[in-house]
Amino acid sequence: MNSALLVNIFRFIMLLAIQIVIFNNMNFLGYISPFPYILYIILYPVNSNRSGLIISSFLLGLTMDMFCNSGGIHATACVILAYYRPYIFKFSFGLSYEYQTIKLNESLTPERFSFILVSVLLHHIILFILEAFQFKFIWDILLRTLFSTIFTIIISIIIIYLIKPNKR
């Protein structure tokens, strides 16, 4: 229990740090920027405290907003993703997901991939809609969402493989 909490706090800080130091400075073609910091929400233990996840996601998003000068768009997207995470689990793994011990950082099955895809897509579309805040940018929003999603997923999978615990 305690070690899980420590792992989560460590993940929270590390993901924020690499997001701010490295990935916030990446702009491919001027509008493609990855947001792998949401791995914190994706990798949060399945059966852990749900309100803890929602509060910590809010803090995660708020910190990002502070560093990006963006009002509350990251906080909104993160809170929505955190709240709807169980539904995405149900969508990807079927009804009985609660009784399985799902560990996302094991080998990449189609279910795990679809879970990551839907989560990232949900987060990014909310993020970019709130960022533009105007309907005349609808193509811009969709384009940014599409490319950033692809990019975030690639980087997230690389990170998951890098932090995979050693097999004993």
Binding site: G30, C68, Y83
Partner: protein
Amino acid sequence: MQQIFNFIIRNSNRLLFLLLLGISLALTIQSHSYHRSKVISSANFLSGGVYERINHVNEYLNLRTENDELVLENARLKSLLFNKEDTTKLPLPDSVKGVKPADIIVSKVIHNSYNRHENYITLNSGANEGIKPDMGVINSLGIIGVVDNTSPRYSTVVSILNMKSQINAKIKKSNHFGSLTWDGKSTGFVQLEDVPRLASIKKGDTIVTGGQSVIFPEGINIGTVDKIYIKNKTSYYVINVKLFNDMTNLGHVYIIKSKDRDELINLEKKEKDE
């Protein structure tokens, strides 16, 4: 009473979610609708400090371009010094030309965003150095933006690449005024709107700041005319301005501290009250 408690306990996650969603949406809408009063900005102790550390590393990678710029500016200043104008000419009273005596504060960009619709820049000096909101920020090539928020040691700047920014500007040779905005598309171009169609403009003309606001003194470079078109149904030109500055690569900047600023603002306020 029992039922209310039961309801709250049963739906605690949903209520928590709605509460946090409400807070974050309020922050979002607030940041989009008002020009100022951002609650959450990077001009604070934590993010300012982090960005300063990151910038220390990045600076070494940009030493070459920074040096080139300094050499160019030195050359320009030297040429000004050597080709000084005739000093026997009578000095015009400065209120006529709209030039105000201005102080300059040197500062450094520690964070710069340019890939969103509302972009902000963070500087590593703040209220301690005398920076206040609504001061103009320039560098050797042209204008950068207007100070938005300050903390004791850091400040944020509304970049000209921000759809909320509006800066008074004019065509250098003909004195026709317009307001400078950004359409959120390209980082190399901004738009000069509301220029009357009487104005004779051609491609390549220089756009400079107008002297109508207290933020910037008159005649600071902005860019050159790239494309001219007419907004439908109005009798005004919209001009695509190619910036002198590369907004994606900023180093040292100057903050203009107009001495007459407080006096002018007070005067205008008084007039409004009456």
